[in-house]
């Protein structure tokens, strides 16, 4: 089975995001593999372990995105490809989907393409579905349990109302949620392999497509309004007295 795991490099989840002059700034936060994509890599590796084949990690981004690809290699992916082109700066999710779909087609013979449910920077969560649309493949989103039997993929989708079982014929695009199970750590063997890996960088010319024009723009960005928080300690001679004062306060402030 040939599996692609699409990953993105994002600022660390502990980073603080602020809007500055209409631009998003993450400060000098370290860049990491999108945490949701680790679940995608884990799901891809488990399919490979169950059915054989290979897992290819694919990322669109700058040169630094090779670090995220190396993380995927260290987890156990067989190879990695970076899609990088100066013309891709500022591309939106639809453009990303076109580029990733072209990369998946160039890899060739892919049975399954795994994505994390969303990226923690843009939080759009629609790139997997858009990629499926461009490829013309079925989209199995929010997968928590994945079973592949012959050419048929059956997943349990983790949705608010509970679980929903859906199936489709491969090739298919899957997005993976946290319920799938903890992603593995990179192994030391994998780390050694990853640190020596030569990751090819494909340009738009290599993919045979032109730079996709963004259809969604970000005209404005703003920080959430700051909240005034006051802290008051309620003291008293006994727990009962404190509780009584607190209850009075809650009623007076119309909290309840």
């Amino acid at each position: 089975m040939k599996i692609v795991a699409c990953i993105k490099q994002v600022p660390d989840s502990a980073a603080k995001v602020v809007a500055q002059d209409g631009q998003v700034s993450w400060g000098d936060a370290p860049l990491v593999i999108n945490p949701w994509d680790e679940f995608a890599v884990e799901a891809a590796l488990q399919q490979k372990e169950a059915h054989g084949g290979e897992v290819i990690a694919v990322s669109m981004g700058g040169e630094s995105a090779k670090e995220a690809l190396k993380h995927a290699l260290a987890m156990g992916c067989d190879s990695a490809i970076l899609v990088s082109d100066p013309a891709l700066a500022g591309v939106d999710t639809q453009g990303t989907a076109k580029v990733l779909a072209a990369a998946i087609q160039k890899v060739g013979g892919v049975d399954l393409a795994f994505f994390g449910r969303q990226a923690i920077d843009g939080d759009a969560g629609i790139t997997p579905a858009q990629t499926a649309r461009v490829l013309g493949w079925p989209m199995l989103g929010l997968s928590a349990v994945i079973k592949v039997d012959g050419g048929k993929v059956t997943v349990e989708r983790s949705i608010e109302e509970g679980r929903q079982t859906v199936s489709a014929e491969a090739p298919a695009v899957l997005s993976v949620v946290k319920d799938f199970g903890e992603p593995r750590y990179p192994s030391f063997m994998g780390i050694r392999k990853a640190s020596r890996a030569d990751i090819p960088a494909w340009t738009l010319a290599d993919l045979g497509i032109s730079a996709p024009a963004p259809v969604v723009a970000w005209p404005e960005l703003m920080n959430p309004p700051s909240r005034e928080v006051a802290c008051e300690f309620i003291t008293g001679g006994s727990p009962a007295e404190i509780a009584e004062k607190l209850a009075d306060k809650i009623i007076a402030e119309k909290v309840l």
């Binding site: 190396k70 260290a74 750590y185 192994s187 030391f188 780390i191 050694r192 990853a194 640190s195």
Partner: protein, 402 residues
């Protein structure tokens, strides 16, 4: 001179950090309070390859170098000292000593399961009446045809009740002219008849760790389990300390870092007299000292890791590293508590645990006083590194990863 870490080092460091932060940090307080070891932690460290990080793949290890071992110890102790203690006794004292002094057969038999984490090892040198005075130990091993009969008691042994194997040093020739020639070293199966052991409680720190005693009553140890020749026990034990102290020093560096990070965070959050306490110079001075100490300790242990990679003896540099980092970690934890004020005195925050955990390392694996004696010995020309019959193998990337 290149001070940068390789990509491989950075990735290994991150992997160990992620494990310790994600899996151990959320539960450590609970086990420390209960004075109980985290039941799954050794198995997990074995499964992830951490326990065998610096052994060649052919001996069941991960084929990483000695610098990676130091980096792993720093990351582990930044979360809790008990994790690093496991590296010190299992990987350092036991595994690395077998790697250095063992025969090929002994490495296959003992090192492979240790490196894979299938068996747990410890080092048993200290006794109820002896610590620093290694040549003064009393546990005896008497040869009786193809076995040695072991009698005596070892105390303050980390993982005493958890380990499967112990590297034990005992007296084989009480008549030898020089006290150091009286000793020999053995790998002892702790499941053997005549071995009894237990945990010690009421320790100041390392409360989620297992520290105990091992009693040997006519325990038969096959001659094949003797590491090195008869009479080489003192040298072998000193080699074990060269490995163990490296893990203690690199680990204590992590504790300095943990105290520093906790202090920076708290100092920025806490206000007094109308501004964050991080803006006061007296707080800044404490933080600056922690930062300097962290950097010094880090450079000292990386130097040792590099020397070990090169196959150079590093007894003196390991001594600097162990003494400096352990004392700095105690100092840093003490000042971190001061910065935290009353909260630092409570186990609601981690810094009181850092202080309690830091104290032991100024005593074990060669107290600060012993480190001073070692260092002065080199300075005064009374101590020189003479070649050993078996030196610690240099790191050979091709061979280790083959």
């Amino acid at each position: 001179m290149d001070f940068s870490l390789s990509e491989e080092h950075k990735m290994a460091q991150k992997m160990v950090r992620d494990f310790a932060q994600k899996e151990v940090a959320p539960v450590i307080k609970e086990y420390d309070r209960k004075q109980e070891p985290i039941p799954w932690v050794l198995e997990r460290m074995g499964e992830l390859g951490i326990l065998g990080i610096c052994f060649p793949v052919k001996y069941g290890g991960q084929g990483m170098d000695y610098i990676s071992l130091g980096l792993a110890c720093e990351e582990l102790e930044a979360v809790d000292t008990t994790l690093r203690v496991a590296m010190s006794v299992h990987t350092g004292l036991c595994g690395m000593t077998i790697f250095q002094w063992g025969t090929e057969k002994q490495k296959q038999e003992f090192l492979v399961p240790l490196a894979k984490g299938e068996k747990i090892g410890c080092g048993a040198f200290t006794e109820p009446g002896m610590g620093s005075d290694v040549a003064g130990m009393r546990t005896s091993a008497k040869r009786d045809s193809d076995v040695y009969i072991l009698n005596g008691e070892k105390m303050w042994i980390s993982l005493a009740s958890k380990a499967d194997l112990a590297l034990v040093t005992a007296v084989t020739n009480p008549e030898a002219k020089r006290p150091s020639q009286r000793l020999s070293s053995f790998v002892v199966d702790l499941h053997s008849p005549g071995v009894t052991r237990g945990d010690l409680h009421g320790k100041l720190g390392v409360r989620a760790g297992s520290t105990g005693w091992i009693n040997f009553q006519d325990v038969k140890v096959p001659v094949e389990n003797r590491i090195g020749e008869e009479g080489e026990g003192f040298k072998i034990t000193m080699s074990a300390f060269d490995s163990g102290r490296y893990t203690v020093g690199s680990g204590a560096t992590g504790l300095v870092r943990a105290a520093l990070e906790a202090s920076v965070k708290y100092a920025k959050d806490r206000s007094a007299f109308g501004k964050p306490i991080s803006e006061y110079q007296m707080i800044q001075q404490k933080i600056a000292k922690m930062l300097q100490d962290y950097e010094i300790a880090r450079l000292l242990y990386l130097q040792v890791g590099w020397m070990k990679n090169e196959g150079r003896r590093s007894t003196l540099q390991t001594s600097y590293c162990k003494k400096f980092a352990t004392e700095a970690s105690f100092e840093a934890a003490h000042e971190a508590i001061q910065i935290h004020g009353a909260y630092g005195f409570s186990d609601e925050y981690d810094v009181e645990r850092y202080l309690r955990n830091s104290r032991g390392a100024i005593i074990y694996e060669g107290s600060s006083e012993i480190q001073n004696i070692i260092q002065a010995g080199y300075a005064l020309g009374e101590r020189k590194d003479t070649p050993l019959r078996r030196e610690m193998p240099a790191y050979d990337e091709k061979e280790w990863q083959g």
